[in-house]
């Protein structure tokens, strides 16, 4: 059996993850995990049961930006439309 039957192009990999939980990295230090319901050629995504993680780097006065304190804000959303231009990567969640 071919290890990856029917996989011709990158999008086919995303197709495999339909209705599965995916990890999405977005521009602006945001990450999402949620169940992928739909996507298109622009990488617009529709996710449900989403948890969004936002990294907020608070630069301290007098310190270089590398020493900023990273605050993590999380929020949960039932259903989310993600515009494709912010998507950096889509992957299945790491199996623990």
């Amino acid at each position: 059996m071919d290890a990856s039957p029917g996989i011709q192009e990158p999008f086919d990999l995303i197709r495999l993850s339909l209705s599965e939980r995916v990890f999405v990295k977005l521009r602006g230090d945001r990450e999402l995990t949620g169940i992928l319901h739909a996507y298109d050629g622009h990488m617009n995504l529709i996710l449900s049961d989403v948890e969004e993680t936002i990294m907020i780097v608070d630069a301290q006065d007098g310190a270089s930006s590398a020493q900023g304190v990273v605050n993590v804000a999380k929020r949960k959303l039932e259903m989310l439309f993600v515009r494709g231009d912010g998507v950096i990567l889509v992957s299945p969640p790491s199996r623990t």
Binding site: G6, I7, Q8, E9, F11, R15, E20
Partner: protein, 972 residues
């Protein structure tokens, strides 16, 4: 106006002054060319608003003379030479022009005309001004007022001008001056007036008119003596007439003119006697009383509303009014027929009044007639009163007789109110009722009018398009909807509609698609079920589309032999399909279509390879079955990776969709085209075969752990695939699948990880597991349910044995999927047992051997479960894990363990049904604590809510009922 200096602000006025100052151009009547082509547009520049300025200037200052208003006089001088046949038109337009110039009007007629927006209110001003031009210039304002107040002098001339709007003022002044007079004086004056006007009418009116009036006047004189008596009587007995509805400012005028009204009453009686010659008023009353009693039964509605006594009187009133109304209408008709020629011109002027009256009269029901007749709020109607009063004096104006008739009907009503309703409180009640109905009728009338206006507005465009125009447009619209694959292009609406229909329990055709012969079609979207106008529109649209489609098909049929279509090139009728070019061009044919998913391998090769693989597997299975098991032959493989699983699932989904599409394209069963049917069958079987292979059910059990099939149903979408697959598989295939599932039960994620669900703290993993469990119960169990429901005792025993053999039954029973499957088996056997007792067909009965085998299996199961019965309950397990927590752990939110326990109670009930007496004893002993705990907490109120209490009791009862007990028998 010019007197007050407004002229500087008014270019129109200046223009006019200049014009009047002597620059008389070639056209004398230039000002009045409204609406003609030479119309200079001055009308647009008119100062329409700003009336409040006039009020400010003139409002309360009382009578202001027009001595210095030279414009007014001159304007009317101009009007004088105008064509008399156009006088109406001109005077109407003069109303508009008089927005700024008619300053004298309010001074002259402070109450009536300024409020009166009807064009008729202007008429007297123009015509009178013309005639009294000399007065305008000579006399002072007071002198002029006195001229007007002397009704008997000016009445003849004014009556000839037929200017109803002017009349009220005159009658008012007359009425005021008359208040001190006695009836004899009035009578004398009336006679004098009649004499005077008769002579005047002789010159002004036609011969016929005159004759009629003379007759009228003579008859009036004849009747006066005998009516006078009646009049006196009425005057004595009747309380002051009430005009509750008169809310207009002219109400006071009416009161002032009460004496005039009494005169009108006289006249009314005259007219009644003249025209009807029926009976005396008293006779009428008596007869109408009788009529009233006869019709009492028909007045149910009113009877409910008021006291019996009051009602009877009101009914009497209504009957009388109705009769009066009818009689008067009859009179009207006679009069109108007699004078139709004379009235034609006058009716133009009267049309407003008439319109109002006629509409009221034509309202249909006697009630609304009554209402309409009593509507005295309208100022115009009040004018009519006064007008009629004047006409009585003048007795020249023929058209006024019509008004008199209507007026009289109203008066008659008032009369009867005062006659019949002696007590004031009854009148009060009646009045309130009447008010209410009047308001109601007016509201309805207003509504109706608005609706009619709207319809009329829309009707302007009626019949603008011919039917072929409409068809053409519909064709254009429909052509946008035609697609090659109507179902797919309308996919979501079709699927949603199917779901909706199944939910509503409606059986409808599978798809709402109009198909054309040549492969195209139109999706019809959802079937509209909602009430209202829309469904009709939708149905109409559908019918239209169908008609067009049929026409097109016929045309196509006709054209077919020529087949010139497209010879000159094709045009795309679907411009909206030209979507923006996508950034990433996904070749949808390449990847998604399962048949072409191996681009390098031709389709036939792929099928052959699949076949070869399947054959190899089958050979292996056969070898195993024959006992010539060759361990080397059974290729041990690594379990499918999740990526492989997902890829296979995608392929399977494609297959399923393909099969579903194939089934939709099934040729009709009565099709003559055997070749097409054969091809279709072959394609379907081919696809189903691929699907079956893809599910890997036939892969040997030992191939991997988990088994590939179990891997496939690990993701949610794998579980959800099963119900869609099961529709296409044979029952034998489904049975094989069930056996495989039972054999590999403990390999499933949801069984392995089940203890996670008992963890007291929520985690993402737990949530995920919960979701998977639900998906399993919802999809997998649902799809194997029909298989189990048909299984025989032997098969169930075998499956139970397999489950116990290959899995740790104790562990499985502590999972929800395991409990669900076991309950399924137990209840199936219970059903078989029931049918055993009732069935007559011996062949269906399980054999003795089968029964014994089942009991063996069950005893084994019971033995295994018995020590762990309490741990079947999630509540017990959660409680255990809670107590294992360190005491400083954060408190756990209240879990709804009763809902979790419910399947367990259900399972125990099934278990109890199958148990022997000793087993039941053991069962009760083991569960005694649990049962008591639930009942006690329910009865002693250790519960958060009523729902929880009921849930606990319900759970316990599930089990106890199976033993023939009830929770109420337990006293704690």
């Amino acid at each position: 106006m010019s007197f007050f200096g407004f002229e500087d602000n008014d270019p129109l006025q200046r223009e006019k002054q200049k014009f009047l100052a002597g620059k008389k151009t070639e056209e004398d009547l230039a000002v009045y060319t409204w609406g003609e082509e030479s119309y200079d547009g001055l009308g647009d520049a008119l100062l329409e608003g700003g009336d409040e300025l006039n009020d400010e200037t003139f409002g309360s200052s009382g009578a202001v003379g027009r001595d210095f208003d030279f414009t007014q006089g001159q304007q009317f001088t101009e009007q004088a030479p105008s064509d008399p046949s156009h006088s109406l038109q001109h005077s109407v337009s003069s109303l508009e022009t008089s927005g700024s110039t008619a300053a004298a009007a309010p001074a002259r007629q402070p109450h009536s005309l300024w409020d009166e927006k009807s064009p008729f209110s202007v008429l007297p001003r123009s015509s009178n001004s013309v005639r009294a031009l000399a007065d305008h210039h000579r006399s002072s304002s007071s002198a002029r007022l006195s001229t007007y107040s002397n009704g008997s002098i000016s009445s003849a001339g004014q009556a000839r001008t037929q200017s109803p709007g002017m009349l009220p003022t005159q009658t008012i002044t007359q009425g005021v001056s008359q208040t001190g007079r006695t009836l004899q004086e009035i009578e004398a004056e009336m006679r004098a007036a009649a004499q005077q006007t008769r002579s005047a009418a002789a010159t002004a009116a036609t011969q016929r008119q005159q004759l009629l009036q003379e007759q009228q006047a003579q008859q009036a004189q004849q009747q006066q003596v005998q009516q006078q008596q009646h009049f006196y009587q009425q005057q004595r007995t009747a309380p002051p007439r009430m005009h509750p509805q008169s809310q207009s400012p002219r109400f006071h005028q009416q009161q002032q003119a009460q004496q005039l009204l009494q005169q009108q009453q006289l006249l009314r009686e005259q007219v009644l006697e003249q025209q009807l010659r029926e009976q005396q008023l008293r006779e009428q009353q008596v007869r109408e009383q009788q009529l009233m009693r006869e019709e009492r039964a028909a007045r149910e509605l009113l009877r409910e509303q008021q006291l019996q006594e009051q009602l009877r009187r009101e009914r009497a009133l209504q009957d009388l009014q109705l009769q009066e109304q009818r009689r008067l209408e009859e009179v009207e008709r006679q009069l109108r027929a007699a004078r139709i020629s004379e009235l034609q011109q006058q009716q133009l002027l009267q049309s407003q009044y008439l319109h109002q009256h006629q509409r009221q009269a034509s309202n249909g029901s006697p009630l609304s007639q009554h209402m309409g007749g009593r509507r005295q709020q309208s100022p115009a109607l009040l004018d009519a009163h006064l007008q009629a009063a004047y006409a009585q004096n003048g007795q020249v104006v023929p058209q006024n007789i019509q008004l008199q008739q209507r007026l009289l009907s109203e008066l008659a009503q008032v009369e009867f109110i005062s006659n019949i309703h002696a007590s004031p409180e009854e009148q009060e009640a009646l009045r309130a009722e009447a008010m209410r109905r009047i308001m109601e009728t007016e509201r309805m009338e207003e509504k109706r009018r608005r609706k009619a206006a709207k319809i009329a507005h829309m009707a302007r465009y009626n019949d603008l398009m011919t039917q072929s125009d409409k068809d053409f447009i519909t064709r254009i619209q429909v052509s946008q909807l035609v697609t090659q694959d109507p179902y797919a292009d309308d996919f979501y609406a079709q699927v949603y509609g199917a779901i909706l229909r199944s939910r509503l329990g409606l059986q409808a055709s599978d798809e709402r698609v109009l198909k054309f012969g040549s492969g195209g079609g139109v999706g019809l979207g959802l079937g509209q079920k909602s009430a209202g106008r829309r469904p009709n529109a939708m149905q109409k649209m559908e019918q239209q589309v169908e008609r067009i489609v049929n026409n097109a098909r016929l045309r196509e049929h006709d054209k077919a032999p020529h087949s010139l279509q497209g010879a000159l090139g094709k045009t795309s009728g679907r411009s909206y399909k030209a979507a923006p070019r996508q950034l990433l061009q996904v070749d949808t044919n390449g990847a998604t279509s399962p048949t072409t998913s191996h681009p390098h391998i031709s389709k036939e090769d792929a099928i052959r390879m699949d076949r070869e693989g399947a054959a190899k597997e089958a050979a292996k299975m056969g070898a195993e079955a024959l006992g010539v098991s060759d361990p080397e032959e059974t290729v041990r493989r690594d379990p499918l990776t999740s990526k492989e699983t997902l890829a296979i699932l995608e392929k399977l989904y494609d297959l399923v969709l393909n099969i579903e599409q194939l089934r939709r394209e099934q040729p009709p069963s009565d099709s003559e085209d055997f070749e097409a049917v054969g091809i279709w069958n072959a394609r379907l079987n081919e696809s189903i075969h691929q699907l079956w292979d893809g599910l890997r059910v036939m892969v040997p059990l030992e191939t991997s752990n988990p088994h590939p099939f179990i891997s496939l149903i690990t993701p949610t979408k794998g579980k959800k695939l099963l119900p869609r697959v099961s529709r296409h598989l044979s029952s034998q295939q489904m049975l094989t699948m069930l056996t495989l599932l039972v054999a590999c039960f403990s390999q499933m994620d949801i069984v392995i990880d089940a203890p996670l669900l008992d963890a007291p703290h929520e985690s993402p993993a737990q949530a995920e597991l919960e979701r998977q469990t639900q998906a399993f119960l919802g999809s997998v169990v649902q799809s194997i349910l029909p298989v189990v429901a048909k299984a025989g005792l032997r098969l169930v025993s075998g499956l139970l044995g397999l489950l116990m053999e290959r899995s740790d039954i104790v562990a499985i029973t502590q999972t929800r999927p395991g409990l669900a499957v076991l309950t399924l088996f137990l209840s199936r056997v219970e059903l078989i047992k029931q049918s055993m007792s009732s069935a007559t067909d011996l062949s269906e009965l399980p054999s003795q051997e089968e029964t014994e085998q089942w009991e063996l299996m069950f005893d084994h199961l019971f033995q295994l479960l018995h020590p762990n019965l309490l741990f079947l309950f999630p509540s017990t397990r959660i409680g255990a894990s809670l107590s294992a927590l360190p005491p400083d752990a954060p408190p756990v939110a209240a879990l709804h363990t009763d809902a979790l326990d419910q399947p367990v109670w259900q399972f125990l009930a099934a278990l109890a049904l199958h148990s022997s007496n000793e087993q039941q004893q053991a069962l009760v002993t083991a569960l005694r604590g649990k049962v008591l705990e639930n009942v006690a907490s329910a009865n002693k109120g250790w519960v958060a809510s009523e729902d929880e209490r009921l849930a606990k009791l319900g759970n316990v009862n599930l089990f106890l009922h199976a033993l023939g007990l009830d929770s109420s028998q337990i006293s704690v």
